[in-house]
């Protein structure tokens, strides 16, 4: 069995992007999906190892809360498994299907909160690449996350936005950030701490 002969792919290494996913040969992916449709529960570990982290971070980037993202991750794969027999294997990765489920769940969450219907509608109207790359593309995730982060940063105190840009997006050293903001290192740390907390309140936009 494939699940025994080959362990699941390790989780992707962290990199300064919203999400990374391993490159999985489409044939291999189709074989795993076929096993899932046949009721092979062991095959799920493989699929989860491939795309679980990417789905989690997609949800996290849209919900901004780790606990909610984990709920969405759990529900995404549950829904996918419950309707895996209706999934039609095409010429693109199953990741896009999973991602669509995750986004819909995130959208449901926003609707439940009635917090941002515009965001929900925008997510719903987002086009899924028809032919698209056969495997998840980081570019889409990065672009969407960067757009939302940018909108939220614009709603923050300018100094908070600046420290977040310098520290997280540009990844500048502390000393350089402190010099640019004309504060001491200790103040920079507290400023960054408060900026993260403030950003939490305005994200997603």
């Amino acid at each position: 069995m494939l699940a025994l002969s080959r362990p699941p792919e390790p989780m992707p290494a962290r990199s300064p992007g919203p999400s990374t996913t391993p490159t999985v040969p489409l044939d291999e992916e189709r074989a795993v999906v076929a096993r899932l449709q046949d009721g092979d529960r062991a095959a799920f570990a493989i699929l989860y190892g491939w795309y679980g982290d990417a789905i989690y971070r997609t949800a996290l980037s849209r919900l901004g809360r780790r606990v909610l993202a984990e709920d969405v991750l759990r529900d995404t794969f549950r829904k996918a498994l419950e309707s895996i027999d209706t999934y039609e294997v095409r010429d693109r990765s199953i990741y896009w299907w999973l991602r669509r489920i995750a986004i819909n769940l995130a959208m449901d969450h926003h609707r439940r909160l009635a917090r941002d219907r515009d965001l929900a509608d925008r997510l719903h109207a987002e086009p899924t690449p028809a032919g698209g790359p056969p495997h998840p593309d980081r570019g889409v995730e990065q672009e969407e996350t960067a757009r939302d982060v940018g909108v939220s940063l614009s709603r923050l105190n300018p100094r908070y936005a600046k420290v977040l840009r310098l520290r997280l997006l540009e990844e500048r050293p502390r000393e350089e950030c402190a010099a640019l903001l004309e504060v001491s290192l200790g103040t920079l740390d507290v400023l960054f701490h408060r900026a993260c907390k403030a950003f939490r309140k305005v994200y997603p936009p």
């Binding site: 899932l36 679980g52 740390d189 507290v190």
Partner: protein
């Protein structure tokens, strides 16, 4: 971990490449904000494959499928033979294996209960709370009872049954207790609001600090804001003129109960002298936080306690912090309006709105009040004082009407600058004393306790019925 320690630990973790889980003790909201910007820094999800598989209830991977072999079939009722034909389901669902006799018996029993036992009281429940209006001396609003427990006449006084409960008080039933506790809490808030107004004096005298000592809003913080954004040292000195005799309306004799709630405040001059300024800059340009004209003062005193450099920086950062709902009004403009010497410069649209609001508000709240007509020579800021004083006078004779008018006034505030004072009054009415103090502190309003506004607010707080 306090904020400084959290910030330091977070910075260290980030500098080390954010490997592994973040250090413990960091505020989850901070981490959520961090992960929202950089989802890749988040630790892996705490969701296991087995958890997901166990939650699947449909499809080829359903958890029930595996356990199906171990399930013992539920015995089929002998009255309803099992059948594979789905068409047989409908009639069987309506069949009653016990026949119509049981139904008739139940109906008769229900009729017996309804007809023969009409006067019997049901046990205490949330729907059958005792009618307190029948109790002599009952207060329509039990919040007042919660604030100041008044003895109930002996005729209706139940014996003290609960341990620790003084005689003369009726123990609350379990269904009443939470509601009464919530109301008591709210009513206590109203009483605390009066104390909060008194605390405004201490806001003037001593800048408030957060527990962690990292921020100093209101007093020192806003002083720092003036310096940081070039607003000049605008602050308490503007307020010290608040109790000037020129603008003080004649105290209403009916407003005497104020003194019972809050002791007489120190004279304005003393409050002014005790007012610290966190920082001041002589060469700072005159202006509000976002450019609204403000008044520059020369009476800037050094802070009572010298802050370390980092704390001073953080206090400055605090002052620069922008609250979304506050940005519409600058501290400088509010102070100027409240001080009554400088009128905040609204936009043309705001001026139009303010004019209509002023007319509507005066109609709503001051039409039947005994307020004297506004003197043209009086500064604009005193309109708040006058309105509140009029509302105070009215509150003594018609507290419910006064509360209603004031709420209507708050809903349609007469002017931007006065919105803050009215928001403070709203907080007072709602019994949110901390919110009241915070609102005033954030807006840089340091009410002189002897000022007409403070007096009016105190009286209103004391006299308004609890909503």
């Amino acid at each position: 971990m306090n904020e400084h320690e959290q910030a330091e630990a977070l910075a260290r973790w980030l500098d080390e490449g954010a490997r592994g889980d973040p250090p413990p003790g960091i505020d989850p909201e901070v981490l959520d904000g961090l992960y929202a910007v950089r989802p890749d820094l988040a630790p892996p999800a705490r969701v296991r494959v087995d958890d997901i598989l166990a939650s699947v209830h449909e499809g080829p991977l359903s958890a029930e499928d595996d356990a199906a072999d171990n399930v013992v079939a539920f015995p089929v009722s002998p009255m309803r033979p099992a059948t594979d034909d789905p068409d047989d389901d409908a009639p069987d669902r309506t069949a009653r294996p016990w026949g119509p006799a049981a139904g008739v018996l139940i109906a008769m029993a229900a009729a017996f209960l309804v007809v023969l036992m009409p006067g019997r009281e049901a046990p205490t429940s949330t729907l059958d709370a005792p009618d307190l209006s029948a109790v002599p001396g009952h207060l329509p609003d039990r919040e007042a009872e919660a604030v100041a427990p008044r003895p109930v006449p002996e005729a209706s006084t139940p014996p003290a049954s609960a341990e620790g409960m003084p005689a003369g008080e009726r123990p609350l039933s379990p269904s009443e207790a939470p509601a009464a506790e919530a109301k008591a809490e709210k009513a206590r808030g109203i009483a605390d609001a009066a104390a909060a107004l008194e605390a405004l004096g201490s806001i003037e005298a001593q800048p408030p600090r957060d527990d962690d000592g990292a921020s100093a809003r209101g007093g020192a913080g806003l002083g720092a804001a003036g310096a940081g954004y070039g607003g000049g040292a605008v602050g308490r000195a503007t307020v010290s003129s608040y109790g000037a005799a020129a603008r003080s309306p004649t105290p209403d004799p009916e407003a005497e109960p104020v003194d019972e709630i809050a002791p007489p405040a120190p004279p304005p001059a003393a409050a002014s002298q005790a007012t610290p300024e966190a920082s001041s800059s002589d060469d700072a340009p005159v202006g509000g936080l976002i450019g609204t004209p403000t008044r520059q003062t020369t009476a800037a005193a050094p802070p009572a306690v010298a802050l370390p450099d980092q704390d001073a920086e953080l206090a400055e950062e605090d002052a620069m912090e922008e609250e979304p709902e506050v940005t519409a009004i600058t501290a400088g403009s509010v102070r100027a309006v409240m001080a009554g010497s400088v009128r905040a410069a609204p936009s043309p649209q705001a001026e139009g709105r303010a004019a209509s609001r002023t007319r509507a508000a005066k109609r709503a709240s001051l039409a039947d009040a005994e307020a004297p007509a506004a003197q043209p020579s009086q500064p604009t800021g005193s309109a708040v004082d006058e309105a509140l004083a009029a509302a105070t006078r009215r509150a003594t004779s018609d507290p419910v009407g006064a509360a209603r008018s004031l709420r209507a006034w708050i809903a349609d505030p007469p002017a931007d600058g006065q919105r803050v004072a009215l928001a403070a009054a709203r907080h007072a009415i709602d019994g949110a004393a901390p919110d009241l103090a915070r609102t005033l502190a954030q807006e840089g309003i340091a009410l002189d306790p002897s000022s007409p506004t403070a007096t009016a607010l105190r009286t209103l707080i004391a006299s308004l019925p609890t909503p």
